[in-house]
C-alpha cells in the first residue's frame, strides 16, 4: 500500500480542480489578473510536487 501515492493522486486532482475553478471564473477569455496568475503559478508548483511524489512512489 502506498498511502503517499494515493494522497498525491487526490492532492493532484484537487489542485487541478482549483485550476478548473480559475478557468470557470475567467471564462470565456481566460485572461487572468496578476493575482490569479500568481495563485495559478503556486498551484502548478504544488501540482509538480505531487507528480514528483507519484514518480518516486510508483516508478522508482
Amino acid at each position: 500500500m502506498s498511502k503517499r501515492a494515493v494522497d498525491a493522486v487526490f492532492q493532484g486532482l484537487y489542485l487541478l480542480t482549483d485550476i478548473r475553478g480559475v478557468l470557470r471564473d475567467t471564462a470565456p477569455k481566460h485572461k487572468l489578473s496578476s493575482e490569479q496568475k500568481t495563485e495559478t503559478e503556486k498551484i502548478i508548483g504544488k501540482l509538480e510536487r505531487q507528480i514528483a511524489i507519484l514518480k518516486e512512489e510508483l516508478l522508482a
Binding site: L13, Y14, R20, A27, P28
Partner: protein, 394 residues
C-alpha cells in the same frame, strides 16, 4: 475528449459564460467538484453508518450536523435531503392531500407540483397572477373561497413559489401564507429559485413546508434538494415506519416512510454539503448578483423593440425577455434564421439560451462576475449593432 465511451467531456462552464435558466445556481463550487472526485462511488457516505442506520444520523462525513445546519439556515425546525425539490413536493402532497381534496397551486407552479397533486389525487385550483405577473394575497383568498365553494371541502394544501420559473418574479409569500393560515390551510413554499441563492427565512415567510433544489440553486450535483418543516409537522411528514413482515416479522428501524428510507447516499449529499459553507456566504451577496442582472437587462432594453417581461428593475437573476420586435426581425432575413442570435453569442463565448430563440426567451445570470456581466451586456448590444438594429446601443 471523452470521459467514457461515447461520452464527451462537458466543458460548458469552463469555456463559456453559461446563462442557462436552470443551470446557473447549480454550478458546483470548487469544493463540491473535489467532493465529487472523492465520493463518486455508489454508497460512498455509508462507510461509517451505524445505528440507527439513517442518512441524517451519519457523523462521518458530517451529515448529521449538516441536516441540523440546513434547518437552521432555513429558519425551520427539521430538514431532510431529498432527490430534488420534486421529491419534496411529492412527500408533502402524499401526507397532506387525500383523494379529491382541493389543492391550491399558482399560475406559475412547476409541473412537478402538479404531478405531486395528481399522484395524491388532489384537485388543482390555480391562483392567477395579476397584470404585473405577481401572485397576490387577494387572488389567493378568492381562489380559496372558490375551491371551497366548488368542492364543498377546504383545500388541504397551498403551493406557492417564492420566485417563479417563468419570469423570475418575487411573490409575496408571507402575505399569501397569512391568508392561507386564516383558512387553516398549510403552505408549501417552493424555494427552488431562492434557497441557496438568496437569504430565505421559512418561519418569517410563514411556510409550513419549505422546499429547495440542490442542483438548481445550492451548487450541488443532481438530483438533490431539501425539504424542511416545522416541529408541529415533523412527525407527520417524516413519520417512521411501523410496518412488519407477516412471515419474517422483520421491522425496519427508524426509516422514514415518505423519504423511502435514506435519500442521497453518495456524491449528491456530499457535493451539497461541500458547497454549503460557500452557499451560506453567497446568499449574503445576492444584491450584487441583482446588480449584475440589471446591467444585462438594461443593455437589452437599449435595443429598440426589446421588452423585459419580468418585473423591472430586476430583483432576481432569472429574466424573461421578448425580442420579437428586435432580434426576431433579424432572424427573418438572416442566413442562420432563428439560430443567428444564439450562434453569435456562442461565437463570443456565451451560451445557455435555448438554441434558436429570438422571440420570448429566458436567461439566468446568477454567478457571473461584474466583468462577465458587462461583457454579456456589451455582447448583446454589439450583436444588435452588427445586425442593423436601431436603438441607443452604440
Amino acid at each position: 475528449m471523452n470521459c467514457g465511451e461515447g461520452i464527451d467531456t462537458r466543458q460548458i462552464d469552463e469555456l463559456f459564460i453559461n446563462l442557462d435558466p436552470i443551470q446557473a445556481g447549480g454550478r458546483l463550487t470548487v469544493d463540491a467538484m473535489k467532493a465529487v472526485l472523492a465520493y463518486g462511488d455508489g454508497y460512498s457516505v455509508c462507510d461509517n453508518c451505524s445505528k440507527p442506520f439513517r442518512l441524517d444520523c451519519i457523523r462521518k462525513p458530517p451529515l448529521a450536523d449538516f441536516h441540523i445546519d440546513l434547518a437552521n439556515f432555513l429558519h425551520m425546525d427539521t430538514a431532510r435531503l431529498v432527490p430534488g425539490a420534486r421529491r419534496g413536493f411529492q412527500a408533502v402532497a402524499d401526507v397532506m392531500v387525500r383523494p379529491f381534496d382541493p389543492v391550491l397551486l399558482t399560475a406559475y407552479s412547476h409541473y412537478t407540483e402538479f404531478l405531486a397533486v395528481e399522484q395524491a389525487q388532489g384537485v388543482p385550483f390555480e391562483i392567477p397572477a395579476d397584470d404585473s405577473g405577481i401572485i397576490t394575497p387577494d387572488a389567493t383568498a378568492e381562489r380559496i373561497e372558490e375551491a371551497t365553494r366548488t368542492t364543498g371541502k377546504k383545500p388541504s394544501l397551498l403551493f406557492v413559489e417564492q420566485v417563479d420559473y417563468q419570469y423570475g418574479n418575487i411573490h409575496p409569500v408571507k402575505e399569501i401564507a397569512k391568508v392561507a393560515h386564516q383558512y387553516d390551510i398549510p403552505v408549501l413554499c417552493n424555494g427552488a429559485y431562492t434557497i441557496g441563492i438568496m437569504d430565505v427565512d421559512g418561519k418569517d415567510l410563514g411556510a409550513d413546508f419549505l422546499v429547495g433544489s440542490g442542483h438548481k440553486s445550492m451548487a450541488a450535483p443532481a438530483p438533490s434538494g431539501v425539504l424542511a418543516t416545522t416541529s408541529e409537522l415533523t412527525e407527520k411528514v417524516f413519520k417512521t415506519t411501523k410496518i412488519k413482515g407477516d412471515l419474517t416479522g422483520r421491522t425496519f428501524g427508524v426509516k422514514e416512510v415518505e423519504m423511502m428510507g435514506c435519500t442521497l447516499m453518495g456524491v449528491t449529499s456530499v457535493g451539497m454539503m461541500a458547497s454549503f459553507p460557500h452557499v451560506k456566504e453567497r446568499v449574503k451577496k445576492f444584491e450584487y448578483q441583482v446588480k449584475y442582472a440589471n446591467i444585462i437587462a438594461n443593455s437589452l432594453l437599449l435595443i429598440e423593440g426589446t421588452k423585459i417581461l419580468s418585473e423591472f428593475p430586476r430583483k432576481h437573476t432569472l429574466t424573461r425577455v421578448n425580442t420579437t420586435d428586435s432580434f426576431d426581425k433579424v432572424a427573418k432575413t438572416h442566413k442562420k434564421k432563428g439560430y443567428f442570435l444564439t450562434s453569435a453569442l456562442r461565437d463570443r463565448g456565451i451560451t445557455g439560451i435555448l438554441a434558436g430563440s429570438t422571440r420570448v426567451w429566458k436567461y439566468n445570470s446568477y454567478g457571473v462576475s461584474e466583468e462577465q456581466a458587462k461583457y454579456v451586456a456589451e455582447t448583446f448590444t454589439a450583436i444588435a449593432d452588427e445586425n442593423g438594429l436601431s436603438g441607443n446601443s452604440s
